[in-house]
């Protein structure tokens, strides 16, 4: 234990701690950067309580609170106002305010200065958590942490560009745009992680081939089942035709996991090939299969829990609104389930494809 403590980079931790304090202090005072008026709560007083029961026998409470405080940015900076806020026990779409918290407000100028609360200002906790993740990455992993963060930043910029491009075309070519993005994403990410060499090209080929085949396979299944049990109308936040948008988000969502599996298999196989150059093609293929089959299960689970987790609130709401288990599942979880299954197919396919590609192409490097 003592040895471990000595190995920790104390200077780096101190630097990150200091940087963190500065960043959070700044984020706490970033109100001047916002166009929308921000209100800082100074006092909060509960003024009434209402009990309500809906038609499904759910009992809830609605509270009214009177908030006073100042506007802290924009042209009305320094003005003192009081606002009534209502919140519920379940807090599904509202928030109970405490002194010191900040909120975005909408100003009404008719007859004096009135305002209503729009939403809680939550940038500070989000920035804090992002910083914590980046700091931990850099402290534990040093240089690899920094390159990993770099690749995420590059990919985020590309993602934004693709969204912009898609909006520009009114969503007509959404599938084409995001398929192209998927290829560029993989190429850049693998360049950053592996570097420019044969191994990177083999991994890239495996990633793209497997993602592509898994989508084709799924489209075939969709065709023969007439997409029974897939409720595109239950897709959230759609401003464009949902089907191509769904396929595009499935391609991007499964890409990382397929890349993960391919990278793990191919890098181990290249290492094996380097240690034992005489190893046969068949032996490489079999080793690849052995490595791949232990990681496929956990990897499918990673995406499964991410895709399914986000449906929890809405599924619960459906259940509490008197819907059956089956209907609640179909309307909320079926799309996440389809996405998990399609990415699962891509992940499993990566095992034979990555192994076969390596056994075919790793050999030529020896000549």
């Amino acid at each position: 234990m003592a040895k471990l403590l000595n190995k920790l980079p104390f200077k780096m931790i101190l630097a990150f701690l200091l940087g963190g304090i500065l960043l959070i202090t700044f984020a706490n005072h970033d109100d001047f950067l916002y166009q929308k008026p921000i209100f800082k709560v100074e006092t909060a007083k509960k003024i009434s309580t209402d009990k309500s029961t809906d038609s499904f026998q759910n009992t809830d409470y609605t509270y009214q609170q009177k908030l006073t405080g100042h506007i802290i940015n924009g042209q009305y900076k320094g003005k003192k106002i009081s606002i009534n806020n209502s919140y519920t026990m379940s807090r599904a779409m509202d928030h109970k305010y405490y002194p010191g918290q900040k909120a975005f407000i909408i100003l009404h100028k008719s007859g004096g200065l009135n305002a209503t609360i729009k939403d809680y200002k939550r940038d500070v906790p989000i920035i804090f958590l992002m910083y914590l993740a980046i700091a931990l990455l850099c402290i534990f992993l040093k240089f690899s942490g920094i390159t990993a963060v770099g690749s995420i930043i590059i990919n985020t910029i590309l993602f934004m560009l693709a969204i912009y491009l898609d909006g520009f075309n009114n969503g007509n070519n959404v599938l084409l745009i995001f398929s192209a993005l998927a290829a560029v994403f993989s190429a850049i990410t693998l360049l950053v992680i592996i570097g420019h060499n044969r191994q990177m090209y083999v991994t890239l080929a495996s990633t793209i081939i497997c993602t592509f085949i898994s989508i084709i396979l799924s489209l075939i299944v969709f065709k023969f089942t007439h997409e029974k049990g897939i409720f595109y109308e239950s897709m959230q936040y759609v401003t464009q035709p949902p089907r191509p948008l769904f396929l595009a988000s499935t391609i991007i969502g499964s890409l990382g996991a397929v890349m993960d599996e391919s990278t793990d298999i191919i890098s181990s196989l290249f290492a094996l090939k380097m240690e034992r150059p005489q190893i046969s093609k068949k032996q490489i293929f079999l080793s690849g299969r052995n490595i791949g089959k232990t990681i496929m299960g956990p990897l499918i689970n990673v995406l499964f829990f991410i895709f399914m987790g986000e449906t929890l609130s809405m599924t619960l709401l459906f259940l509490k609104n008197g819907n059956s288990w089956g209907y609640s599942f179909s309307m909320n979880m079926s799309l996440g389930m389809v996405q998990s299954l399609i990415s699962g197919i891509g992940i499993v396919l990566a095992i034979p494809v990555a192994s076969a590609l390596t056994s075919l192409f790793a050999k030529e490097s020896q000549k």
């Binding site: 779409m93 232990t294 689970n301 986000e310 288990w325």
Partner: protein
Amino acid sequence: MSAIIVLGIVLFVLMLLVGGKQGLQSFLSLILNFGFLFFSIVLIAFHFPPIIVTIITGVIVLALTIFLSGTDDNTSGLAFLSSILVLFILVLLIVPMEHWAQVQGFGLEDSDDLEGLSILIGINFVKIEIATAILSTLGAIAEATMAIASGLDEIKEQHSEIKPSRLLFDGIYVGKQIIGTTLNTLFFGLFGGSLSLFVWFHSLNYSFGDILNDKVFDAQLIVILFSLIGVILTIPITSLVIAEKWRKDNN
């Protein structure tokens, strides 16, 4: 037949062909995980305490995923122990962060979907969001602990005289290799999951500040950040657990 069932059969056949018995076990763990996930939602709907239900589900899911992915029992046991430690540290981070960030329930973007639904259901959505966050990180924790534990197992087999401190160092090294790709799995998952939301943001001209404070996006983002932090914590914790066990065995 429903498309979900046919896709499930395709996945099952592929897993069986590629992984044999291990494939069968992994598929079984996927089915069981879904069962436990859905069962915990039903329990929460019956007003069981959400966070406790989720932590118990979490421990079960970690056990299922790790023990059914089919390495030897000794390694799986240590991996399981490490994953539980990581889970508990994460819960200690998730609970205050969810109270601070207030991303529970639904945002303004959900209004259309909420039409005709009563949202006053008498269950605190902050707790539901905590449950969501804990459940979403399980897959990533299980995957990372398995990867490090089996990597170290391989090393122990090849150099049976390796020193515990060296093993710890190797664990961090293995971790560095997996973190880059795991990061991709998580962030591409986020990109894919929030794609339609971003199209929405773009068509309604959200500013950077609007997105940074958007409840729906922030809820998805912090789940990914929790998973990421979980994976990072897994690296030293799993290495430490395995190195300590190795030290004990050698003495």
